[in-house]
Symmetry: C2
Subunit: 340 residues, 2 copies
């Protein structure tokens, strides 16, 4: 592997000149420049960004920590981060925390050791030491899929409470009275928790009494959604509509409901959350709350890079969400729900 020293010797110039040709070609005479280019080609010179990072204290690399790349929503946001990174000559190292704080902790450590210039993370624990030491040490980072509107750090997120409210309100407006919720485990993510709060508030405001039997917590998986809805449908007085705290769970729930013999959406309305790309391709097409995952990723990257460039006041960016009504939710039937 040849270095700028080899190039310099071959071209009969100094290493400084070679460096200049690489970093600010205009600052060197054309003739010299050409000589250097020629020499670089001759010895198949490959630039060593690591060595540069070593001296400039910049690796031009950021870390992205998400729960799991398997959830299409995180794939979307990841794409947003990456594209913004690509456009700005920044590499992205990806890490999956699997909603586990210990994993998150370890990833942050490893990535910082790798000298990433900053971090974008979807945290599992807002109150944990991870965030605290990041803040204390003024290490650049941005929270993605954040639930906080204030605080000493930048963040990109949505109003999950409002999302939960909107979803529930939609079901209420369709005449549903028994509305269940399949939620991601509150211990794993406060997004789910906030959505549940929105759900509860909406019920209260509409004089529908909250029944804690109608809440099931589960892990964020297809099978989790399927199993959870079966629990709900097995209740003595089952729900006629269910709000799922993400589309992925909703997909599982639809499957599970159908397996118990229900006809959707007539016998059970379902609303999801995220509006992942395949939501409109489901059967029935999923009514859901849209959050702009790709744009959120992009925006997080943008905030992070500017923060790396120049530390400034934290910015919390709460993006717009919207109810997207499709086929999976429908007016409650007059006849009572199928009973055992």
């Amino acid at each position: 592997m040849s270095t700028i020293l080899d190039v310099a010797r071959l071209a009969g110039v100094s290493t400084a000149t070679v460096s200049r040709v690489i970093n600010s070609p205009d600052s060197v005479r054309e003739e010299t420049r050409e000589k250097v280019y020629l020499a670089m080609a001759k010895c198949n010179y490959k630039y060593n960004a690591l060595a540069r990072g070593f001296v400039t204290k910049r690796s031009n690399t950021i870390g992205l920590i998400i729960p799991t790349i398997n959830n299409p929503v995180f794939a979307d946001s990841t794409l947003g981060v990456q594209e913004y990174g690509d456009a700005n000559n920044i590499r992205v190292i990806l890490g999956n925390s699997y909603y586990k704080y210990s994993q998150e902790e370890n990833l942050v450590k490893v990535l910082r050791e790798s000298q990433v210039d900053g971090l974008i993370l979807t945290t599992t624990n807002l109150k944990g030491d991870v965030l605290k030491s990041l803040i204390d040490e003024k290490f650049p980072f941005v929270l993605l899929f954040s639930t906080v509107k204030g605080g000493p750090f930048s963040a990109v997120g949505i109003d999950n409470y409002r999302g939960g409210y909107l979803a529930t309100e939609h079901l209420v407006s369709l005449g549903h009275k028994r509305i269940g919720m399949v939620a991601g485990n509150f211990s794993m993510t406060d997004r789910s928790y906030h959505r549940w709060h929105g759900y509860k508030s909406c019920l209260r405001n509409n004089k529908i009494s909250y029944d804690k039997e109608l809440l099931v917590q589960t892990d964020y998986s297809l099978s989790g959604g399927r199993d959870s809805i079966k629990k709900l449908l097995g209740l003595p007085s089952p729900p006629t509509a269910v709000f799922c705290s993400n589309d992925y769970i909703a997909l599982g729930a639809i499957k599970g409901a159908r397996e118990t013999g229900l006809i959707l959406p007539e016998e059970l309305s379902i609303v999801g959350f995220d509006d992942m790309q395949t939501a409109s391709y489901m059967v029935p097409a999923l009514t859901t709350i849209r959050q702009p995952a790709y744009e959120m990723g992009r925006r997080a990257a943008e905030l992070l890079l500017s923060q790396i460039e120049q530390p400034s006041k934290p910015i919390q960016d709460m993006m717009d969400i919207a109810l997207v009504v499709r086929e999976s939710s429908t007016a409650v039937r007059e006849t009572t729900h199928k009973e055992e």
Copy 2:
């Protein structure tokens, strides 16, 4: 940011000793070791993996280039790569080529400049200069979702020809005679091309004449699948079954077919390829060819790391595939297909 020099001074030892405490604690006396640990804690020392990489010529980082993280199959394989990396203290830098060779070319360049120790890539162009120079320069890499059984490099893949054959054979066995195919653009990926060959061979072997009208090429997207199936269904003599070259396209195709008023699977059978996680959650549940994406990713990482450790003969690992019959494929109806 404190360095080992700070730690050394604080502990009253040399930098060499600090380095030893970090890399082989057993080689230093317990008493000294404790002193060093104490000093590290005192000045909040953070290890600089970049500096180490600089001297050891190892970044403990690999690059992973895939077409797009949006396709769940690539998300699965990415997870496999990552988990193997995690377990071996290797970071993964992700890059999306969007099936574009120029992107791929650029990513390889950038990643090599970043001094990744090796590359895992799903190439768009087997014959291109990218692979050639990688080989020439003996840079460690492994092809993922590879179509080749021989050659001077390691690769992990499946027999796409056989997959296409199996899928088609299944449809033939159900009595279908007019079998269409929605294929990913041959110019973007030879996987699709090989699957098409399998499809064609199977038709021939079953004395079904090949009709080139029944092939539509498209980009690998949901809407691509939807639009393509509509083209096929608009034919004077439309197919009664369609083989889609991946599940993602199949999902789009199902939607498209339904939009034209068809009842699935009775009026149209569909077979996909990949067996992505949501395949069994579709309606109708998708018949498909299973390829073990996660394991393929893991295996590719394994091959790469061993190759980095010690260059050896290339290994081509062709994984098993299997037809998974679900609901989206059914026996051809006796009555003729709906006509205009």
